[in-house]
Symmetry: C2
Subunit: 245 residues, 2 copies
């Protein structure tokens, strides 16, 4: 494995620039994760990898915006962020990559089996798939990917604007790498962060504690999160800064 | 692979006797499927395999009756018959068999990963697991495995008694191999079988057409199938024989 870019020295605060990627010509594939739920960064555009197959884990921002499917050789995404309940994974794979699994790969993980059987080789997780259908209908009713993309940008921008308004809140991600799904930010100290999470929960704004591996605060604002909730969060942030800033 | 018993010559109509099993001393494991949903046969007791690890696919009769877990090295079962919705698989594995997967087995299929992470390595299929909990509570309220086992024997016996009452219906499975979950039977000819399935569906008794690979008729009477439905089926069978027998 060649790590084309390592973000650990900067605590994964940004997406690499194209000219920073150390790609291997002729590699079997390049893998990237389009949105980092823990650190709150998001690729605004796929990396350019030439003829090498591009593989994307799109679990946490699939269907949050239009993407160019043709630039990808393989997209996979767990359903539990924007699509439906956990227990379903969506896979979009280019035909020429099917049938290349080594013989040691168990049947259920061989895309060829699923492609040949139209995703009905096994008894599928029917309930989850049914919910996905309802979510897709809802998404179409919102106006589709362009419309939801606009909504998501607007929702996230409101919170980022509040983060940037004074020096009290500090965004974790670099500005050009900010995720529209997971907004990560810090407060001047950990006591204030704890107080923020606690008071927010009491005010009905739950789940704002950052991932245990990072600390700080995180607002996850997937497709299903209503804009009213965003406005309530921004109002709470203003109020909290007034009291503690 | 050594096939310890091949039932194909008899159209899989019976479970082998212990003395028919051609076991390999020192084998890595012996695999059996406790209930055959398609042909309607069921092991009444686990095969005796000595010190060789016994592996059971219990998908279609788990929790339909008590079984001796200590006789098994590994039990696995898809949830969709007696446990809950499709998309969850229950695995009961003996400690000493964990950690023996070859390095080529993908993470998600390595029992060691799941055991070490208390089945929470990945985001689990929460909804399905929640429904399993409700089904388990229902099962306890029925009186547990002994009670449901008694109910299942009684339910199946009513249909088998009707099959045996005259020569009009013919059970597919040998009497000592009959499944209490899937009751397979034939009629004198295929036209009558089609008529039976059609008239039964019209009478509100749906899903009686046998599996496409066998033909005939099949009544699947898993835990959730009510005894009233059994009585309705038996009444329909009597009526159908009066009209067509």
């Amino acid at each position: 494995v060649n790590v084309a870019f390592a973000g650990d020295a900067e605590n994964f605060a940004r997406i690499p620039r194209q000219d920073e990627l150390k790609l291997t010509p002729g590699a079997a594939y390049v893998h990237f994760t389009s949105n980092n739920t823990i650190f709150g960064t998001e690729w605004k555009k796929e990396p350019e990898v030439g003829a090498v197959p591009l593989v994307c884990d799109a679990s946490s921002d699939i269907y949050s915006r239009p993407i160019d499917v043709t630039k990808h050789a393989l997209i996979y995404a767990g359903a539990q962020k924007n699509l439906g309940p956990s227990g379903v994974t969506v896979v979009i794979v280019r035909d020429d990559l099917i049938g290349k699994a080594p013989a040691t790969i168990p049947t259920m993980l061989d895309f060829k089996i699923h492609a040949e059987n139209k995703s009905l080789y096994n008894t599928p997780p029917c309930f989850g798939i049914y919910i996905l259908r309802l979510v897709m209908k809802w998404l179409v009713a919102q106006g589709g990917l362009d419309a939801i993309g606009t909504i998501n940008v607007r929702k996230a921008a409101k919170v980022y604007a509040e983060i940037d308004r004074t020096g009290f809140y500090r965004g974790h991600a670099a500005k050009d790498s900010r995720s529209n799904m997971n907004i990560t930010f810090r407060l001047p100290n950990e006591e204030l962060e704890k107080a923020f999470a606690k008071e927010a929960t009491a005010a009905g704004l739950d789940g704002l504690k950052g991932h245990r591996s990072v600390g700080g605060l995180r607002a996850s604002v997937y497709n299903a999160f209503p804009e009213d909730g965003i406005d309530a969060l921004v109002a709470f942030m203003k109020d909290f800064e007034r009291k503690h800033g």
